[in-house]
Symmetry: C2
Subunit: 412 residues, 2 copies
């Protein structure tokens, strides 16, 4: 049989928009991998009546209910009580979990306040989903033909709980195999990508081909469904080949975590080192690169040259360029890239300079004018970044363009 | 009367977890400011039947339905058709909007593909919510005692649409005034904060006092409700005073956007400049600072000294310190802060060094050991950052600790 799940996030802070619902994303992705359909997500506040109403609706349309949030120690954490009531269960104290909570506080050297005990009360006859990443355990039970799983809300707890507790728990329920591959594209917008692949995507049902816009990138997902993984995977392959033929070098990778990661692998394979010089991105590029563990193998460091003096003094950008061409110019970008290479002693240097706005634009150089340069021993290439709209987008596009230029320089 | 709204996000890419539902946050915040209750958010895929079912449920429990997503040009964008059907309306071509879409493509110099015309079909007798930030217009109508508003999905369109279209549209409906103030806290966890304010929070109903955990920070929201803004605000004031007495300098600001912003204002007021030297945070701190427009007034730049050679050569960290104390040491953090000050010619220098993990930890210096130093002309202070758990958290906490240390150094 094919299961259908509903995710219910409990928390006034999500409902009111204080935080975004990343847990729903975490859970939904895992369910997708397991071939379990998700038709609805619901968000409800820390209010037992409305949570009860949401659970009743979910019961009527889903076989699996997964809640996130409301397991904590504070007076508005009411998920376990409410779900237990909805399914006619009592909460009972779990001594083992109580001990673990005590141990957790001892380990981090903080006092355990009385309210933390609440977290050890769990629905009778449930399976405890142990939480090694926080204090509130999750739990799961089967009642009234519904599988119920409750997970803690903080994303840094919810994420590993999904990976190490929920997936193994649900795997035993699922039968059909779903295999997805993601083709990641930089430098071409979603509607252009869709236009180019429309003729192959439109009438397919298995596998499916769907484009998604991500911040500055486009992603094409090819998903096959069959009785086992191998067969599902085989369905996707001819479509993937077709897409590669159409989009070519715009595809920076398949099933890769990010453009930064692809660049890291390429540099590592070729034993090359990298240094950055950033003006308008102010460290965003080096931040993206150093998000990756172990990147010190290839990344030496960078200079955030926000002021012109620093461009000159630390990176040797000729005063003349700044004077005649300006800090936002192809020439300055090239000098930054070359300066980063030389000053920091790297094989490849990157330079970014531009106007991220909202102020500082002119008619000749409007907000969004950004030059990105990459340099190695043999050549220096400069391109214009395509970002527009707002400061965040402009900076993000500039940093991604830099990564893409490194990829193209190194991959050739 | 008091209105109650439901937000319905339409999009398989949200349901499957490809993107997080930031639009719900944007809309919910705006509704909160208007004093409109939100009891449920729902997410549904690009499927007309399930969207119809979700709309029917929303109709039964809300006076206002706001949808996000599914207004675009692709074949799976079905929100307008479905909502129009649910309320017995037809879609009609809006020539003005069609012209605008044509103009948009002309302006950005891209070809307008045929599918884009779909976006100009709107429910009969609706109010057009003009979209100056993208191609798909929003719309609003009142039918069957329900206010329906439809907004585009891309966050960079949805956000301004909410601010400039939805808020003015809804303002005429709302009567009760809600005033919220946010006290932002750094250096004390949510449960400690809750424990300290519990005695005042627990039995209050108006105003309310609620703690929220944010990545590395805690937020206390005080909300008053009354017949007008002034009266609502007056309700919050005595509670705010009480909280300030209890938490003191842990509160870095009230109704401020971020710690980085507070630091920027403080430096600007005092005419001080700043430079950074980052090791394990790899540019995250300078990225956070330069997220702020106009920050070049106070921020000169920074060095991301990922490798030890760069710490020595660019920032003058004594070789002896690296040799005897190691790069992850109080002494190195201090030398980085002082080096940033001197090399970049700033009034205040910041240095961050540590082990962000997951590799690189030792028994003496486990993953999560991070030293943060701030230096001005007179003194250098070094503290240990409290971050643990994972690379992202450790880096984020280190950067926030640095900002908090600048704040404390400058505010005294």
């Amino acid at each position: 049989m094919s299961y259908c799940a509903e995710i219910i996030a409990v928390g006034t802070e999500i409902l009111l928009g204080d935080i975004v619902n990343t847990d729903a994303q975490t859970v939904a992705r895992a369910l997708g991998e397991l071939g379990i359909n998700v038709y609805y997500n619901t968000v409800v506040g820390d209010n037992p009546e409305r949570l009860r109403a949401a659970v009743e609706i979910a019961k009527s349309r889903a076989d699996i209910i997964i809640t996130t949030g409301g397991l904590g120690p504070t007076f508005d954490d009411l998920t376990k009580q409410t779900l237990a009531e909805c399914f006619g269960k009592k909460l009972v104290l779990n001594e083992t979990e109580l001990e673990k909570i005590r141990g957790f506080f001892a380990k981090i050297g903080r006092e355990m306040t009385k309210n933390n005990e609440q977290q050890a009360y769990l629905p009778e006859d449930c399976v405890v989903l142990e939480n090694d990443w926080g204090t509130a355990p999750g739990c799961a039970f089967f009642a009234e033909n519904t599988h119920v799983l409750m997970l803690p809300g903080p994303p840094r707890e919810c994420k590993p709980m999904v990976q190490y507790r929920v997936i193994p728990y649900l795997k035993q329920l699922s039968d059909a195999s779903l295999v997805s591959h993601e083709l990641k594209i930089f430098g071409m917008g979603e509607s252009s990508v869709e236009d180019k692949v429309r003729h192959i995507a439109e009438h397919m049902t298995n596998p499916t081909l769907a484009p998604y816009a991500k911040e500055g990138e486009t992603l094409l997902r090819v998903t096959g469904r069959a009785e086992n993984e191998e067969a599902a995977d085989a369905l996707t392959r001819p479509v993937i080949d077709q897409v590669y033929e159409i989009l070519g070098e715009y595809i920076y990778g398949m099933d890769v975590p990010s453009l930064a990661d692809v660049v890291f692998r390429l540099l590592k394979e070729q034993g090359l080192t990298l240094a950055t010089a950033e003006s308008c991105t102010g460290g965003l590029l080096s931040k993206m690169i150093t998000d990756l563990p172990g990147v010190s193998e290839v990344f030496l460091g960078g200079v955030c040259a926000y002021q012109n003096e620093i461009k000159e003094q630390l990176l040797g950008v000729p005063h003349e360029i700044l004077e005649t061409k300006g800090a936002v110019s192809e020439e300055c970008a090239a000098a930054l890239a070359e300066g980063a290479r030389k000053t920091l002693g790297a094989d490849i240097g990157v330079g970014i300079t531009g106007i991220a706005g909202p102020g500082g634009g002119t008619e000749e150089k409007p907000v969004g004018t950004v030059y990105v340069a990459v340099a190695n021993e043999k050549e220096t290439r400069v391109v214009k970044s395509r970002g527009h709209r707002d400061r965040g987008t402009i900076r993000n596009m500039a940093a991604l363009t830099a990564l893409d230029q490194i990829r193209r320089l190194v991959a050739k």
